[in-house]
Amino acid sequence: MKVVVRLASALRTYAGGAPRLELDLPAPVTVGALLDAIAVAHPGIGRRLRDEAGIVRRHVNVFVGPDNVRDLDDVETVVPEGAEVAMLAAVSGG
């Protein structure tokens, strides 16, 4: 299934300036699997979203549709068909 990922502006430089990525992954797609695929395709984005131990960074928010995955099943959250996933900087940083 196709998953569209919206990138925080600071991450776009590591994707050739693209504001969004589109990935084709086998369903069902979890947020964790999506992060794995992004890390392979764009290591510069992958390591900014998660540290080398695989933990989503504290001041990074991942939204599936309107919902923060920390309020759902975290990286086990399943991405519904057609939902946009946003990888954004939390306002808590900096």
Partner: protein, 385 residues
């Protein structure tokens, strides 16, 4: 597959303003909570140029200018509160920067840890001109054999049986000091807050070496480890003589940390402080920046004074000419004070309130080089070759 983007990320090149300096000039890298600045001057150190900031919004806890082996390489340890740590490097004085992707300063998969901050980037001596050490949080040591392009975890220290008992200081569990052997031998020392001073004599086997350092915050008065060492320095011609600023007290060792003796308690206004600097020309001349106490981490009596000993730690005198002496409630972090390698030594101090002070004459006179910078985390001078 991704759209509108390359399938692989190569090194990122960031064009920025370069430092305007040439061989013989002094460059002082100033790392702040919001980016990197530099101050540069000719060897007279009278007129200075401020450049930056690079890496806006990122904490710069570590920086180095490495001029060994024909390089003119800037190394910077930066941390974005959102996107994590990076080590950047530039071989053209900051005009362009390389940010390796993936980052080469990272724990191996089986370590079960992640670099939170890079606290120290320390080129080894001239005898090993391609070696650079990195100290990170959580406390670990990495080594590069190619001038800071790739790093490998020191497994001996990482596997030390004490490590699980190390406690973080206020800044985190950080390995903040690396003292390579100036002669290029295997001996190496590090300090961790709050684990203490550790050394290896063979380059592989590490031992805690804190005998004599009091730890009033622990049940045992002088435990084997757990001391809150803030910084350690030594002169390259006397590598066994170490000077250490502890959370409680200033210490000296004459046997590479085998035994420590407290110094300065009679002539310093306070033995609490963070940085300690050994003069590059006089091995018995040492500088500290006393703060009032653990509870009140500001300069005593609102007077900003650097204290210097010229007899190896017995007697200390305050140096204040040109430094603010009224209502100067300043604070300086462990890497906020350093010396260049000229004669007489140039001294550089950056404060948590964004001032940078400098002395071109080993502390006799001072002037303010910059103000209103973000809080200063590190000050790293070097002379360009």
């Amino acid at each position: 597959m991704p759209i509108d983007s390359p399938t692989q990320d190569g090194p990122t090149i960031r064009p920025m303003e370069a430092i305007d300096a040439s061989a013989g000039d002094v460059v002082v890298l100033v790392g702040t909570t919001k980016g990197l600045f530099s101050l540069s001057s000719n060897p007279g150190r009278g007129a200075w140029t401020l450049t930056g900031p690079w890496f806006q919004g990122e904490e710069i806890n570590a920086a180095a200018l490495d001029c060994r082996n024909g390089r003119t390489r800037l190394l910077v340890g930066a941390t974005s509160s959102h996107w994590g740590p990076s080590v950047y490097r530039s071989d053209d004085l900051g005009a362009t920067w390389v940010e390796p992707e993936p980052q080469t300063l990272a724990f191996p998969d089986d370590a079960g840890a992640a670099v939170a901050r890079v606290w120290q980037l320390q080129p080894a001596g001239e005898a090993r001109p391609d070696v650079v050490y990195a100290g990170v949080e959580p406390a670990a040591l990495f080594r590069s054999d190619d001038g800071g392009e790739h790093f490998t975890l020191d497994e001996g220290l990482w596997g030390h049986p004490h490590r699980s008992q190390w406690q973080p200081g206020g800044g985190g569990l950080c390995l903040h000091t690396v003292l390579p052997d100036p002669a290029g031998g295997p001996r190496l020392a590090i300090a961790v807050s709050a684990a203490g001073f550790y050394r290896t004599l063979d380059g592989h086997t590490w031992e805690a070496s804190n005998t004599g350092i009091r730890a009033p915050f622990l049940p045992e008065p002088t435990p084997e480890f757990g001391q809150c060492v803030h910084k350690v320095d030594r002169h390259p011609t006397q590598p066994d003589t170490l000077f250490l600023q502890h959370h409680w007290g200033v210490y000296r060792s004459d046997d590479f940390g085998g035994q420590w003796t407290e110094v300065g308690a009679d002539s310093l206004p306070s033995t609490f402080g963070f940085p300690i600097v050994v003069d590059p020309n006089e091995p018995g001349t040492v500088y500290v920046l006393p703060l009032t106490s653990d509870e009140f981490r500001c300069t005593p009596d609102g007077q900003f004074r650097v204290f210097r000993t010229t007899d190896g730690g017995d007697v200390w005198h305050g140096l204040d000419k040109g430094l603010p002496q009224e209502n100067a409630w300043l604070s300086v972090l462990r890497d906020g004070f350093s010396a260049d390698t000229l004669t007489p030594a140039g001294l550089y101090v950056g404060t948590r309130t964004g001032e940078v002070f400098a002395s071109p004459d080993a502390g006799e006179t001072w002037r303010e080089l910059a103000r209103h910078l973000p809080p200063v985390l590190c000050v790293k001078p070097a002379v360009l070759r």
